[in-house]
């Protein structure tokens, strides 16, 4: 009986595990990320098809600010480093450092989103509205969807910090941070593709 109770506690402490011995939460997150590839694949393909379709308004090469976007890309890339440092801190049960790295990651993510808002505002003032051309619609849809994902990631980071501070995590704390980290790294790898295919390769 005591052995059964210990086993149950152990399972609860490490999340719910499937018959494979792997965490169901991690399996679900990886499955979700795999399906997200299809979403962004569709948006990127649509942009690739329509990037040259400009009858009205500015062309991509006329409005893209490569130095600015490069800095944004660097900021998002470094947020992946701070996120993985948060995960290793969580695995060490070091709550103070976990929260510190999560805070820095959230700030870097917010900086990236702020940069995207600035970029969109600048483009709009230069005459590139959402319905100006097929290029503009596909561009705003793709980068907007990515921006929403980063914003959701920032909310997830802040929520994780909140529940760690209040000690409200019932299961494995490091796994919760790792799951948020997986989502965060995913938005980073999507941006790696977007930065190359959309910004660096001319239409």
């Amino acid at each position: 009986m005591a052995e059964t109770a210990t086993h149950t506690d152990h399972a609860a402490d490490h999340g719910h595990h499937s018959s494979t011995g792997l965490s169901n939460n991690k399996l679900a997150m990886w499955l979700f990320l795999g399906s997200e590839c299809l979403l962004f694949g569709g948006l990127i393909s649509t942009y690739m098809l329509y990037r040259g379709r400009v009858q009205d308004g500015p062309h991509p090469s006329q409005i893209y600010d490569i130095p600015f976007t490069s800095v944004s890309s660097f900021v998002l890339l470094m947020s992946s480093l701070t996120m993985v440092l948060a995960v290793t801190s969580a695995q060490r049960d070091d709550d103070a450092r976990t929260n510190l790295w999560l805070t820095i990651t959230a700030l870097l993510g917010a900086t990236f989103v702020g940069g995207q808002v600035y970029e969109f505002t600048t483009f709009y003032r230069e005459g590139l509205g959402f319905t100006t051309s097929l290029f503009s619609s596909s561009f705003y849809s793709l980068t907007g969807f990515h921006g929403v994902h980063v914003s959701v990631g920032v909310i997830m980071l802040l929520s994780t910090m909140g529940i760690i501070k209040r000690n409200k995590i019932t299961g494995n704390k490091s796994e919760v941070v790792e799951l948020v980290g997986l989502y965060w790294h995913f938005v980073d790898i999507v941006w790696i593709v977007i930065f190359t295919l959309i910004y660096l390769i001319p239409s």
Binding site: L49, L81, V84, Q91, L200, I201
Partner: protein, 101 residues
């Protein structure tokens, strides 16, 4: 617990110093990518950009997302979705004669 012990890898993955090295390599590749916008790489422009993009992608997935150290089932789930997306959208782009244009 000593600092040295704290910086060791845990359940899986690398030490903090290892992750910083990976981040520095990623930053260097990004700088090289941006340089292609200013320096004429000639016929190597497109292949070099694509290779750098794939290398960055794989490095983040393998090391930061721990896929290199985790169960192969996770790799299967993710790369199946990615492979399916690549297949479907390459076919879709080919249908619209994207590669010929």
């Amino acid at each position: 617990m000593s600092t040295e012990t704290q910086s060791q890898s845990h359940d899986h993955g690398m030490s903090d110093a290892g992750y910083i090295k990976i981040a520095l390599i990623l930053a260097a590749i990004t700088a090289l990518e941006v340089s292609t916008y200013y320096v004429d790489f000639g016929p190597l422009f497109m292949p070099s950009l694509m290779i750098m993009m794939v290398v960055k992608f794989v490095m983040v997935v393998s090391y930061f997302m721990h896929l290199k150290f985790d169960s192969k089932i996770f790799s299967f789930l993710f790369y199946t979705g990615l492979g399916l997306a690549l297949f479907v959208y390459i076919v879709a782009l080919a249908t619209f004669k994207f590669f010929i244009a």
